[in-house]
Amino acid sequence: MSINRRDFLIRTGLGFGRAAAAAGFIPGVGFIGSALASELADPLAPKAPHFPGKVKSVIWLHQNGAPSTLDLYDYKPELAKLAGKEVPASFLKGIKTSTQGGVGKLYVSNQRSWNQYGESGAWFSNLLPNLAQHADKLAFIKSSVTVGATHDISILKLNTGDVNPGRPSLGAWINYALGSANRDLPSYVVLYNGDREPQAGSVNWSSGFLPAVYQGTPFRPGDSPILYLERPELRSAAQQRGSLDLLKTLNNLGAAHRPEDTELRARLQSYELADRMQSAAPEAVDLSGESEATKKLYGIDDKTSESYGQVLLRARRLVERGVRFVQVVSGHPENISDQERRSWDAHNDLDGNHGVQARMVDKPIAGLLADLKARGLLDTTLVVWASEFGRTSWGESGSGRDHNPWGYTQWIAGGGVNAGTTYGATDDIGLQVADKDKAVDTYDLHATVLNLLGLDHLKTTFLNNGRSERPTVVYGKVIKELLA
């Protein structure tokens, strides 16, 4: 019954001649399930989508720590009225909460004010004055739901679709399904601001059971973004060239005896690619050629938004150069030592926390959208505002909010997006999704993102240990209302 990919290609005439037929000598690339023939010798060769995609690249803005979208986008006049009161029991139906003896009292900050923006009349709080100017570029999902009560498992789910580690991240799936559009750069890049890699680590940009070649490459701050990118100081450029030439000679001598062996030749080629990456990657992240006006646009002139602005400007430069998936994990402005302000995780003093975090992202994201638009890139790029969950309508420690996986806001913007609309809603206090049929789980968001790239999430498959796996596990639906 079963047949592997290579048989399939050969039998359907998709194989590319004898070189592919000799792939019997190529271990480790069997069972690739979705793309075209060239992957056999070259797993990152560009592959056609299932149908013409609207966008070529994705910038995935993970708001780490989970912002209170109740304080950013989801305006609830009813909540303001009930503030200070116990949560009416009717709103708590069907959810499991922590804290014995009931949840806290409903909470609204006295520093919050709300306005409508753009033709769409979307609501924004006073925390996001710059982003609000782009209201009509966004499609809001106000009925986001997820699983989990702690950051780590919900972040894993946000990126990989599962609450346990082991599955490929969305970026890895896209990298696998579409291949690379620029071989001089990694096609799946992870960016972050702050002084260390995001704590939950590489499982969130892992290739899971896909071959490791599809995993995300974290770009470090500074001018040498990739580990081992730089030629060691001990070695001059002339020495390096000499070594590469020798390597080529030696490898060619060996390969001459094995004319059908595409893997050995691919390895030879990988050194030439690495050589090009050595100059392409630092160039891609070098902001020195950007105008002062552009830097200002991204908020790089402000201490609080500087590092995030730099990261988003890098993201634009990467997308410009054909990088498929840029996963941006929000961190914190430089010199923030207070643990409570290093992510959106505002269990107390929400005003203080969100004051910093919102100011950190507001101008940079607004700038990114404006810049992409001005360069004609917004039509081919998808920007996603995503978080592992939202925050509760009730207060915690008086002035904070707890985790809320039952109803929160995310948004998408860019090519093919039904901009200026809102899909779904939360209940009157912004706690749970109002209409359960309109709930958008991680899988649905992933399916929709894949659709915009021209990929059918049901057909994007990989045979892993006998299971035909897909990015959306056994769930997922494309939210048609979000598409133009």
Partner: protein, 780 residues
């Protein structure tokens, strides 16, 4: 939740259907399914097959060869000629040890005229501790071994290395494989007095864990799921886990049967703090205790003062910590012990373990109450107490470098907490924890024979895992021996006889040589489940001795080389690349076992600020000897892959890892080409070569090739290398003329006066380049 039921139907097999349709019209030029294979099933008892009669009788060294040859002859193919002895010993040493043979070992073998020259080499390989280290690595892949829990906090599992050492020792002692299974699955039940058997249950305890989880009841389900799925894949090559959310799409395996399998583990808890038996402490543990006593002594007053500061808030703090758990976990945690049922017992034990490993939360509570002015329990005394505690904490930090490292007082094992009654197991609709349906009892799925297993509870445990382990390790189990023999075969021939080592089911590949698989499985059991004998037979076969030279007739007739008319060449695995180069450089610290080590990751200056150096996640080992241990001893932190290995497709410790991929990427090239570690080894290797070969450059180049490739360079290679030395010397000279005097020169040269440093730096470049070549990264 409606959508889940609907979509689950679409789940597993969209491709399967498309592919099957294609199969029907296929011109199956390359299928090798023989008549008997059509009837062959992995679920039927293993029958020792007749050894086929072949034409080229002289080629048959072991029955293994007859099975291979008979299919080759049917296809009109001849096996490849024997590879030369030097290539053979490099191949066998890499496969059995993951290291290179020394030039002396190569020479001895090449010149050995005795009739049992091959046997002597193979027996020497199997007798070495390097064999266990290499085999253990592949078993640890399956056991999703790591030294940390995973998830966000990714806490260290301070004594998990004992399980790793158990596995290494098991392979080195040739522990019978059935015993190896029983110890890992039920060592605590079967041999409660044996520390070794209990350490073996570290296999079960290796699940990725979120110690921060607030939902302990769900955590139990997730842990049980992880273990059940791992047992299914590792021992039975079954994707049983598929049936957790829905009936299996391709195999006859119902959701109910899946949960019946889970039920064997329903009473399994884990204790990560069992004190080591007196007298069983290793040298590392003794050192640990010594360091610990010292640390406790010098910090005694500070810690005592901290305890006093916290004392008044202990009760409130612990209450706060307990209240942070979700509804049903709290029900168990706040219940009095006499009312505990089996589930309450599990939850409370888990809670106790988390507190023991990560703290009771009182200090966190104090900080929260002191810092959140809005909290009703915010009081001035708490503000003052926190200030004092924090001051003491800073004081304590000053002694951080005196903290003990490495060893531990404890070991980890499965336990049933002294009770024989297990919490009920339910089928879960759609695999969703919150939707239990029918209660089930432990049972073996019908697909696997549905054997009735007898469960005999003991005074202190349910006996369930004993029953499961006995069934898995039974000589009559149709899968166990086949599955393991297939894994061993795949180590030597790149692919298994069944190319999907984790799936013998209908969605997996068909066996290329079903009778060979049965021969290997039945002799494996016959020979007392001896793993070494299984390896030995394969290593001594003619099929393993074949040349890997490309053959155009084979490319045409059997493009995937399923019939093995040619030996399949293979890229070295991540650990082999590192270990072989380290070994060649003469710097390998060949110590077996012990706490995991932390070699340096890139220097802070090149790693930017985002650096694990100085962070608790990666505290570089103080003892530099630890930096040069074999890769199997490098600390495996789930959230941080050791950079030098990371790009070479190592095992992902999240799940059972069955097959090492081979991908070829520029990031690999950057790693080998630019890493300061590889350059350092090249310097050491250059020094070794000069010491061993003397001043003559031709001799040096020969020696280098002998060390890395077990052969002499050919004429063209020699010419290219000499040309490089001349040009390289000029390049180095230029660099020095530019005012940069720092060059990489060979390390460890005995006679420093004998070398010209500029020419020697060019030689280091040469060594480094040769180590980057395909001839090093592959075994042929």
């Amino acid at each position: 939740m409606k959508k889940i039921a609907y979509l689950a139907v679409l789940s597993c097999f969209t491709t399967f259907v498309a592919v099957a349709a294609d199969d029907n019209k296929g011109a199956a030029a390359d299928t090798v399914v023989t008549k008997s294979a059509k009837r062959w099933s992995p679920y039927e008892a293993v029958q020792k097959p007749q050894v086929p009669v072949v034409g080229q009788k002289g080629w048959v060294r072991t029955p293994v060869d007859a099975f291979i040859l008979s299919q080759l002859e049917a296809k009109g193919l001849k096996p490849s000629p024997e590879t030369d002895r030097a290539t053979f010993i490099r191949r066998a040493t890499l496969d059995a040890w993951g290291l290179l043979p020394t030039p002396e070992e190569v020479k001895a073998f090449v010149n050995d005229k005795s009739p049992d020259a091959y046997e002597k080499v193979v027996d020497r390989l199997l007798a070495s501790h390097h064999f266990g280290e290499r085999q253990a690595r592949r078993w640890l892949d399956l056991a999703r071994y790591a030294d940390s829990t995973g998830f966000q906090n990714d806490n260290t599992r301070a004594n998990n290395w004992r399980y790793r050492d158990y596995v290494i020792n098991a392979f080195n002692q040739d522990k019978p494989f059935d015993r190896f299974i029983k110890e890992q699955v039920a060592g605590d039940e079967l041999w409660p007095d044996s520390q070794e058997a209990k350490v073996a249950t570290g296999y079960l305890a290796g699940y990725p864990d979120n110690q921060n989880s607030r939902d302990l009841v769900q955590r139990k389900y997730q842990i049980t799921t992880d273990i059940t799925d791992n047992i299914g894949e590792t021992f039975l090559a079954s994707t049983a886990g598929c049936a957790r959310c829905h009936n299996h799409k391709s195999d006859k395996f119902s959701q109910k049967e899946y949960f019946q399998l889970q039920a064997f583990l329903a009473n399994t808890s884990f204790d990560s703090r069992i004190p080591l038996a007196k007298g069983s402490e290793s040298a590392w543990d003794k050192k640990f205790v010594e360091q610990r006593n010292k640390y406790q002594e010098v910090t005694k007053e500070i810690r005592e003062a901290q305890r006093k500061v916290l004392e008044p808030y202990r009760e409130d703090g612990i209450k706060y910590q307990k209240e942070r758990y979700l509804t049903d976990s709290r029900d168990s945690i706040f219940k009095t012990e006499k009312d505990w049922n089996a589930l309450d017992r599990w939850v409370n034990h888990r809670h106790k373990m988390v507190v023991a490993e990560t703290g009771d939360g009182v200090a966190q509570y104090l900080r929260l109450a002191a810092e959140s002015k809005e909290r009703p329990d915010h009081t001035p005394d708490k503000v003052a107490a926190w200030k004092e505690y924090d001051r003491l904490q800073k004081e304590l930090r000053k002694y951080d470098d005196q903290r003990p490292t490495g060893g531990s007082l404890y070991y980890t094992a499965a336990t049933e907490l002294g009770h024989s009654d297990a919490a009920p197991t339910f089928v879960r609709f759609g695999g969703i924890h919150e939707r239990p349906t029918e209660e089930v009892q432990p049972a073996i799925p019908a697909l696997f024979g549905g054997d009735k297993v007898e469960i005999k509870p003991t005074a202190t445990s349910s006996g369930r895992r004993t029953a499961l382990a006995g069934w898995i390790a039974s000589p009559n189990n149709p899968l166990t021996a086949r599955v393991y023999a297939n894994r061993v075969w795949s180590q030597y021939f790149d692919k298994g006889i069944i190319a999907t080592p984790a799936d013998f089911g209908r969605a997996g590949e068909k066996p290329t040589h079903p009778e060979l698989l049965d021969y290997l499985a039945s002799t494996f059991v016959e020979r007392g489940w001896s793993v070494k004998k299984l390896h030995r037979e394969i290593l001594l076969s003619s099929v393993y001795r074949q040349s890997s030279a490309e053959r155009s007739d084979v490319v045409k007739a059997d493009p995937q080389n399923k019939l093995l008319a040619v030996y399949p060449r293979k890229r070295l695995e991540a650990e082999e690349i590192r270990d072989a180069l380290l070994y060649a450089s003469g710097q390998l610290n060949d110590v077996v076992g012990g706490p995991s080590v932390f070699p340096p990751v890139a220097k802070a200056s090149t790693l930017g600020a985002a650096d694990f150096d100085g962070n608790r996640a990666w505290t570089v080992s103080k003892d530099k000897n630890d930096w040069n241990r074999r890769s199997v001893y490098i600390f495996s932190r789930r959230s941080f892959s050791y950079p030098l290995l990371q790009n070479f497709d190592p095992a992902n410790p999240s799940q059972a890892h069955h097959k090492r991929d081979v991908t070829t990427t520029p990031l690999q090239a950057l790693t080998l080409f630019n890493s300061d570690i590889v350059i350092n080894w090249s310097q050491a290797l250059a020094g070794r070569v000069i010491n061993e070969a003397g001043k003559d450059e031709s001799a040096q180049i020969s020696r280098l090739y002998q060390i890395l490739f077990s052969r002499e360079p050919n004429k063209e290679e020699k010419a290219a290398l000499k040309d490089f030395l001349a040009k390289g010397e000029a390049a180095v000279q230029q660099k020095v003329a530019d005012g940069k005097f720092e060059v990489a020169v060979p390390i460890g040269i005995k006679d420093q006066r004998a070398i010209n440093p500029v020419r020697a730096a060019a030689f280091v470049d040469l060594v480094h380049t040769v180590a980057n070549s395909n001839d090093f990264a592959y075994r042929f």
